[in-house]
Amino acid sequence: MELLCIRQWISGLLPTWLSAWCIKPVGGALVRQEPEYILLALMGSPLKKIMLCSSEKEIFSVEEQVMVQHSVIINNMIEDGSYNHEESKIPLDCVDSKTLKKVIDYCTHHTHHHNDNQEDLEAWDAQFLNVDSNGLYDLLMAANYLEIRNLLDLIYGTIKNMIKGKKIDEIRRIFNIKDHGFTPEEEEQNRKEYPHFY
């Protein structure tokens, strides 16, 4: 009976400790947490969390270490002390909830799986970017604002592949550029200048 009370007391006190310590299911596989996490958990301190607030005023709690590793902006905020753990949340007025959740997903996965082999990480990235154009541009703006280098490079790489080697009409279609704004004479001139592009 007493043991149960103590256990409940501990789990009430440090919920993150439990999830950090356990073997937990991630995408169908059982993933063992890395030694550093276990060590922190055994030392009894909960993994520090920070609060991010989307433009729709929804609050997301995420491990500080995860965001600090990926976002230069958030790292700077925490280092220069402008973020107070007890009280404040970081307002991200230009990132909506849906996008913020995806950004957090990306950072969390890459922090926890940084020891995985390259192919697995690339496959996960490809799956992660399987979104429509609006979603992609929102992610790009968010990653740019938060200065998350590897996510930016990933998205830029994807967009680059939409342009490279393609003809003008196809690129206009992919990017949904319905009205190019050139006069017929200008368009004629364009064709002459870049014949291989048409």
């Binding site: 154009s133 790009l140 830029y156 680059k160 490279k164 949904n176 319905k178 704004g181 592009f197």
Partner: protein, 449 residues
Amino acid sequence: MEPEDDKSETSTTISTLPDSILCNILSFLPTRTSIATSVLSRRWRHLWKHLHVLNLDGYSFNTPELSRDHVEDRFVDFVNEVLQQVQVRRIQKFRLEGEVRNYSCTLSFWIDAVTSGPHLQELYLSLWNSSGSFYTLPYSVFSCTSLVSLILKGDIIVSFDNLQSLQLPSLKNLDLEIISTELDKLLSLCPALETLKVFIFFNSGGIDPNEIHVPRSLKRLTLESEACDSTVDHLEIHTPSLEYLDIALVACYSQISVRTYPNLVEACLNICFDDMHIDWMPKLLNAVCRTKFLALQASTTACLICVPSLEFPQFFCLVRLQIGFEFFNSRVLIDLLHCCCKLEALLIHACESVSYGCLYGEPVEPSSWTQPVSVPSCVVSHLNIIEFRDYEDLEEEHEFIAYVIERGLVLKTVTIHTRTFTDQEIKDHILKKLSVVPMGSSICQLKLD
């Protein structure tokens, strides 16, 4: 990945993104393509002129109808045109690859212009010249104080008369795969270097260092050299911050000076068999004893086997070991396993085929299995994964695998890859033989292909 063709009115076009982001997109494209995007729409017309990144590819100007000289002229005109339209002093990254036959002077002029800007961070040159002459890199590169990354490949020569007023204080990344350089002098200009990747073409009379002193700030080192006849006296790697080490040495170093690298995470050693190396092999192994991941290529293992009374250091942090053998040697492997108390993953590669091969014309006696006196502790407590490539089902190989399967209490997967062209019958036979071995771990899975 292609976005869905969204015809609803709420879909945004890419053109609603701000200029700076569109420019960033362009900076990932070859400059020729970036300029062509000016016809996408009015919005894109002048965007490319704000580019801070130039990717100039001389090869893309090749067309079968034109002569090589003509192609080169077109490329030179193109680059001159581009440099006039963009703000040269704001260029952050300059990347140029191609063949340089007649335009070395113009090239130096471009490089001088670009390095004079206070913002240049990355310079990448890949120049090949089939007519046999080389391009000498202008001095302006070595006084570019903002340069963070310098990558040189091909028929380029780097040489200094004197080092006065030359410095690369911001250089963090240096990648050289060139004909000739005074490597040590160049390294002395880079006190903040973190990543160094060098491929040494010894034979071409190229980089000819008697001594190489690697900067102390270094975190990642990749050193690869071709065969040579001469000797390098001294290679010194005193780098306390070293995290990643990848050496592939064929050349002869009479002396190598290393210290233990306390922050080492990954080490790959590929040392070709040579009498001279044996003396310093144990020193090198000691220096990497703190690493988490270790890869020993077959030739390195062959070197180690030849060291008289070799004693492995304790690899306290080693989690993953990749080891190649010319011919599988279980005794050496077991000795090594005794020193890796935390090993979780073991990948073995037996490179040469005993059935087909003869070592230097002599028929090979496969070494035989001796039951170890004591079980390596990592097998019992930590080893999760074993993989064996080019498995031939020799008695020694089989006995080793069976030994580990029986005693590996936490083994999760054992994967055997047979040599290509192995009959299905033989594969079935191997699988059958191994399946009857009593498994020490209840969750162990045996896979064979």
